[in-house]
């Protein structure tokens, strides 16, 4: 398989081509734009046989994806930050429609005030829209995860966000192995829509629905609104197995295992477990290595699937943790980092009594170096030794 030097956005575009996407719709926004530019060029040159709908807003982007997916086309889009926020209504609509739309979210901070730089507030804020959220730590993972995302989406009938950090990955070049096209064809069968809009069997898709179940014209009791919601929840919960299986199959076919729900780095004997999502988690592996050189046994858990949340895997990974340090590029205002809250909730009732320190880091592109992460872990370990069980620290930020 050929290795090329690609940016994250190029890697994602290559994956879209390999997946033979049939409809692309996009609206320009930094840092997602270049990904959609590659696709536009390939479609205009005939390299990728697909429709490209150049709409006037992200709200329309996701609408186009919903409608095109409904009639059976494999669809793709990508966006960032305010573009994703502008789609918010349609994200709910896509998930409620149970459509296997794949969207790359190139993570960027959210205004006001404006920032074009990276953090994960945009996608974390879409946590409860019913989308599967997968996060990537490098460009190889981006190309591989987009391919996996279509398998997962079309098997679970749930839309998938493939999230990766703006500029840090989207505009940084790395060696990327391009999967063989024939093997991708074998790995990813054609998309079969769950419903066909046709004259032969006219349907009214997504009409008004009552709270309770209701009989159809043939007297059969059909779902009420709440059953629809439960089925979406059930599908997301069930998607855990799909994500793990697809990753395993991918590893067998292509020789690369990115972890199913999460990945681990030197966790076995760890006296402190660092947890993160995306590129900050891969940076944490460098911090862990620095700490290990000093004799501090640090390990890392990288969250790959944020929704569905790796409840069981987190419990397993952190069950022996004497101390937990969480780095994340988002904040749930008035509380703590969203990941921290979710991890604490996952550990409830398991007997894990480890102190949990939460670091809010890298918001709006504020630089965080591996050495600074290592410093943070050292400072947390000192505090933990002094009995400080909980702490929220804004890393590299003036807070006085």
């Amino acid at each position: 398989m050929p290795v090329r030097i690609l940016t994250g956005n190029q890697a994602a575009a290559e994956a879209v081509k390999l997946c033979k996407v049939q409809v692309v719709s996009a609206y320009p926004i930094t840092p997602s734009t270049s990904l959609t530019e590659y696709l536009a060029e390939w479609i205009e040159r005939g390299v990728l046989k697909a429709e490209y709908v150049r709409v006037e807003s992200e709200h329309s982007v996701m609408t186009v994806c919903v409608a095109a997916s409904t009639v059976g086309a494999r669809v793709f889009t990508s966006t960032s930050s305010h573009g994703l926020l502008y789609m918010h209504e349609q994200l709910h609509w896509a998930a409620g429609s149970r459509l296997p739309i794949v969207t790359c979210v190139i993570n960027r901070g959210v205004g006001a005030p404006w920032s074009i730089f990276n953090d994960q507030q945009d996608s974390i804020a879409q946590r409860d829209t019913g989308w599967i959220q997968l996060y990537c730590r490098d460009n190889q993972e981006i190309i591989d995860t987009v391919i996996q995302a279509y398998r997962i989406a079309e098997q679970a009938y749930c839309p998938v966000m493939v999230c990766y950090d703006g500029f840090v990955l989207s505009h940084t070049m790395m060696p990327v192995e391009i999967p063989d096209a024939d093997r991708v064809n074998g790995f990813l069968p054609p998309y079969k829509p769950h419903t066909i809009l046709s004259q032969e069997a006219p349907r009214n898709i997504n009409p008004v629905i009552f709270p309770n179940q209701r009989r159809d014209a043939d007297g059969i009791l059909r779902d009420g609104y709440m059953e629809f919601r439960w089925k979406l929840q059930h599908a997301l919960e069930g998607a855990r197995d799909v994500i793990v299986d697809v990753n395993r199959e991918f590893a067998a076919a292509f020789g690369r295992d990115h972890g199913g729900m999460l990945w681990e780095h030197k966790l076995e004997d760890a006296e402190v477990c660092i947890v993160g999502i995306g590129s900050i988690a891969s940076e944490a592996t460098m911090a862990a290595d620095i700490l290990r050189e000093e004799g501090i046994r640090a390990g890392v858990v990288g969250i790959r699937s944020y929704r569905p949340f790796p409840r069981a895997e987190i419990r397993e990974a952190l069950k022996k943790a004497p101390a937990i340090v969480i780095f994340e590029k988002n904040i749930s205002y008035g509380y703590e980092g969203a990941l921290c809250a979710d991890i604490k909730a996952a550990l409830y009732g398991t007997g894990v009594e480890a102190p949990v320190h939460n670091y809010i880091a890298g918001l709006g592109g504020r630089d965080v170096k591996a050495a600074e992460l290592a410093d943070a872990v050292r400072s947390s370990l000192a505090d933990i030794a002094g009995g400080v069980r909980e702490r929220q620290t804004w890393l590299n930020c003036v807070t006085e």
Partner: protein
């Protein structure tokens, strides 16, 4: 006239019984629209009175496949259907987006403008009942001056109606039309024509609304006729930039016997607080538009 009715497709696409209000102008118009479009049509509709007509899950009163979409997204939803069908090689399907005046003049205008600018091959229908009627008669930018709505409950609406036809014409689309369910053959003919034309077709329909306009349900057809007789609604089409008056409006223009606006106004409870000044202002608006149509039709 009766022989003209015989050419209308006898097949019914709206099943007997639906949830619209008595005397619903939209319901009447929709029946003829679907007859004209026939088989192989896919509808996409936002939250609106039309959603109510289509029925509550798991029952529908319409025998045509339909994709419901969010309020602001109707024309984008049609664009997605067109792109998806093209990708699936199903290019013989007519894609129709249909929304009310709120969904078109207001919240849906951005997506509609985008789809029209791209020349998306679809029919966009705006049934204009001059307000947010599904939510109980709130003011929209299509509401006429002097009308009471629940959001202009004391002072009435202060502005004239937005000229959406002009906005859509500015997109240089191949076909636009204005019609009324009180003249079903005229409406039917326009949809038969629109189906044959490639590109974006914008079809506006004046849909009298008994509860919103406050008149007895049995008067719907009569009120729709009065709207045309007074020139408040003008039946016309614009094909490749050429405006042509049609049906009763054409006859009115030829004979020059347009009725005064007051005859239309006094039949509706929503205008009960309309001032003489507002009436004069609306009459002037109607006259100006009418003269413009006549001038353009003669070009």
């Amino acid at each position: 006239m009766p022989e003209k009715l015989f050419k209308i497709n006898p097949k019914e696409y709206i099943l007997p019984g639906n949830r619209t209000c008595q005397g619903c102008g939209l319901s009447l118009a929709y029946r003829y629209i679907l007859k004209a479009l026939r088989e192989n049509t896919i509808m996409t509709i936002p939250a609106s009175c039309l959603t109510v007509l289509h029925g509550l899950y798991p029952i529908t009163s319409v025998n045509v496949p339909c994709l419901n979409c969010t309020f602001a997204s109707t024309a984008a939803s049609a664009s997605g259907l067109v792109a998806g069908l093209a990708a699936m090689n199903r290019t013989d399907t007519t894609v129709v987006a249909m929304a009310g005046d709120g969904g078109t003049f207001d919240i849906g205008i951005q997506a509609l403008s985008g789809a029209a600018e791209r020349g998306t091959d679809f029919i966009y229908v705006c049934y204009d009942n001059e307000g947010y009627m599904n939510t109980g008669t709130q003011r929209s930018s299509a509401t006429p001056i002097g009308a009471l709505t629940t959001t202009t409950p004391v002072l009435t609406k202060q502005q004239n109606k937005k000229d959406m036809m002009k906005i859509m014409e500015a997109h240089d689309i191949p076909y636009l039309s204005m019609s009324s369910p009180s003249f079903p053959v005229d409406l039917y003919d326009k949809f038969v024509k629109a189906k044959r034309i490639k590109g974006t077709k914008y079809m506006q329909i004046s849909a009298p609304c008994p509860p919103g306009w406050v008149f007895p349900p049995k008067e719907t057809v009569k009120l729709g006729r009065l709207a045309v007789e007074t020139g408040v609604v003008v039946l016309y089409e614009i094909e490749d930039g050429k405006l042509r008056l049609t049906g009763r409006s054409k006859t009115l223009a030829e004979k020059g016997n347009r009725a005064p606006l007051l005859q239309y106004i006094e039949k509706q409870g929503r205008f009960k607080k309309m001032s003489m000044e507002q009436l004069g202002k609306m009459q002037k608006w109607v006259d100006t538009k009418w003269n413009e149509y006549i001038r353009r039709a003669e070009e």
